[in-house]
Symmetry: C2
Subunit: 380 residues, 2 copies
Amino acid sequence: MPVVGMVGGGQLARMTHQAAIALGVGFRVMATSSTDSAARVCGDVRLGDHRSFDDLRAFGKGPDVLTFDHEHVPTEHLRTLEAEGLTVRPSSGALLHAQDKRVMRDRLAALGMPIPRERAVDSLADVAGLAEQTGWPVVLKSVRGGYDGRGVWPVESPEAARELLERLADVQLMAEEYVDFRRELAVLVARSPHGQAAAYPAVQTVQVDGICREVLAPAPGLDDESAVAAQRLALSVADALGVVGLLAVEMFQTDAGVLINELAMRPHNCGHWTIEGARTSQFEQHLRAVLDLPLGSPGATAPHVVMANVLGGAVEDAASVYARYTHVMAHDPAIRVHFYGKDVRPGRKIGHVTALGNDLDEVRGRAREAAAYLRGEEGR
Amino acid sequence: MPVVGMVGGGQLARMTHQAAIALGVGFRVMATSSTDSAARVCGDVRLGDHRSFDDLRAFGKGPDVLTFDHEHVPTEHLRTLEAEGLTVRPSSGALLHAQDKRVMRDRLAALGMPIPRERAVDSLADVAGLAEQTGWPVVLKSVRGGYDGRGVWPVESPEAARELLERLADVQLMAEEYVDFRRELAVLVARSPHGQAAAYPAVQTVQVDGICREVLAPAPGLDDESAVAAQRLALSVADALGVVGLLAVEMFQTDAGVLINELAMRPHNCGHWTIEGARTSQFEQHLRAVLDLPLGSPGATAPHVVMANVLGGAVEDAASVYARYTHVMAHDPAIRVHFYGKDVRPGRKIGHVTALGNDLDEVRGRAREAAAYLRGEEGR
C-alpha cells in the first residue's frame, strides 16, 4: 500500500489519519511537537520544522506522496524537493496560489475570474488610489500567512491606512475593496493528477471576527443555477491552476454575483460537514486525489447538514469541556461531536459538531446549541 | 480526557481507534505484534500477550478503563485485576458468558431465554442422548475459543460423533440440536454502567462456511413486532448479565421464533455497517458505554445498508488487492471501502465494504459485487 506523508500535525492531519485508516493506505505526519493534534493519535509521526529544508527533505524521502495540512511550507523548499524527484501534491506551482494572495489574484484576474477590485500596496498612494475607485473603507491584507481573520485589516480613512502601513512596515500588503456581500459561500472540489474532478455542494459559511463559526450545507436558498455556477467556477480554478488534491474556494455572494475571496489547497474547515454529511469525506477525497485513486461520491447524505466550530471560550480547561460534552451528548444523542485533542485556549478551534436532518432550522439550532454549550456560552 | 485501554490489536481495535479520535478520548491498544491491524495505525500501542497476567497488569494500570477486542483473555486474570481495583468493562463476570458457551447457555436457560436444545458432553452417551430428542445430525461445539466457524462440527451419526470425540479428547465439548433455521439474525445493543441502553436495528447475517459474508440492515422483511421482540430480547440479556459496553446477540430465526445462538461483548462484525449506516457507529458506542458517557443514537442513516466482508481469496497479495480496489472505487464512487492493513491470506477477513440506499436489491448487489471483485471472484 502506498504511503502519504502530510506536513503539519493539526486537526486536518488528525482527521485525514482517520480517513487513511479506512482506506488502508499508509499515513505519516510531520508535526512540530508530539502534542500536536495529529501527533497525539497517529501511529507514524516524525517531528520536524516545516520551515527547515533539511527536515522536509528527511521527511519527504519516505512517503510516496507529500501533501500538506497548511500553507506555510516555503515555496522554494518545495521546488527543490520536486527538482530532486519527490512527488509533491499539490505541486509548488499550484500551491503558490494558496500561499501568496498577490500571485493568486493576478492569476485569477488574468483568467477572467470574478475577484474584488484590488491592488498591490507599496505606499499610501496605492491605498488611496484604490479608495478613489471603491470609496472607504478598504481592506488591507497581508499577502502571505494570514488565516482565521489574522492578516486582515479593514481601514476607514487615509489616516488609519497610514498608521497601519507604518505599524506593518515589514509586511507585504495588498489593498482590496470592502465587498458589501450578502453572505459568504464556499465550494470544495477535488482534482486528481490525471484530471478527474469532483465538486461538493456549495455551502454557506458564517464567520464571526474572521473565524468560521458555522457551515450550512447546502447553502440555504441558493438557486440551482447559482449553485452549479459556483461549482463550475471552483472546478475551473482547480483546472486552470493544476491543483491536485482538494481546493477550497471561498467566495462573497453579492447582488452582482460571486467574487472569489480566498483559496486553500488542503482539507478545509468549510468541508468538515462532509465527514457525516457526504458519501465521501473531504479527508478521504484528498487522499484519493493525491494518490490518483478514483474520486469518491461527493453527494450529501441528508437534505441539510450544519457544522459548528467549537472554540475555546469561557470554559478554558479540558476537564470542564469534557463535563459539558457529556451534557451535549445526553441532550442530543444524534449530534456528532469531534474533538481535536488540543489544549483549550480562548478563540482556538478545539473541535466541531455536526447535525443532519430534513429541517434546516432544527438542524442549525441543534448544531448552534451544542457548540455554544461546549464553548460555555449557553447562558448568553 | 479519560483513556480507554483495549486488549487486542485486531481490526476491531483499529476501527475503535478511529472513533476515539473523534471523541477526543485517549485510546491505547495492547497488541501481540507491531504488525497487528490496530498496531499499524494507533499512536499509543503496547506490546503484550493477553494470556500473560503480568502483561495484562502492566497494560491495565495506565488507562481509566480496560476493555477488549476479543474474548480470549483468561477469566481468572481479569478477576485478579478487578480485585486489585482496575475498572474492567465488561466485567469478568459478564464477559464469562461470551467466553464459555456452557456458562452462557445454562444462564440463558435459567433466565427462560429461547436457546437451542443442548447438553454438556462428557461421553458419547451425552451426544446420543440429545440425538434421541432431536434426531441426527447434531452439532458439537467447543465450549471455549471457537469463532468464525472454528470449533463447530455438525455430526451425522453416532459413528461420526465417536470419531470426533476421540480426535478432540482434550477439548471440552457440548452438543446442540441442528437448528433448521430460516435465516440468522443479530441484534447489537450497548449498555452503560448506570444502565442506559440502546439497541441497533435487528439485522440479517449471511454466513458461508461459518464465516459472515454479508449483513443486511435492517433484516429484510422482518415485521415490526418481531424486530422489536428481537431488540427486547437482546436488551434483556444485556441487563440480566450486567453487560457494560456492546453486546452482540446472534440468533436463529425459526418458524417457531428466535433462538439465541452466540453472544459477543465487543464491537462485532454484525455491526460494521453502523460506521456509515447508523448515526453512531458501534465503535463509538462501545467507547461511550465503557466510559459511562451518554449513548449515541443507534438510528439508521438510510433505508437499506448492506455490509459485505472482503476475505483473502483468489487474490493473495496486497499489491493486486490495491489494484482491484482502484477498479471498485472507479466502478462505484459511493461504495465505502474499509481495509484493515492485514496481510492477505485465503479466507482471512482483510476488509469490508458498505453500500447504502433506498432499494435493497440494488444496495446488496453493489456490496456483493465490490466484495467479490476485491476477493478476486468476479468471474465466478
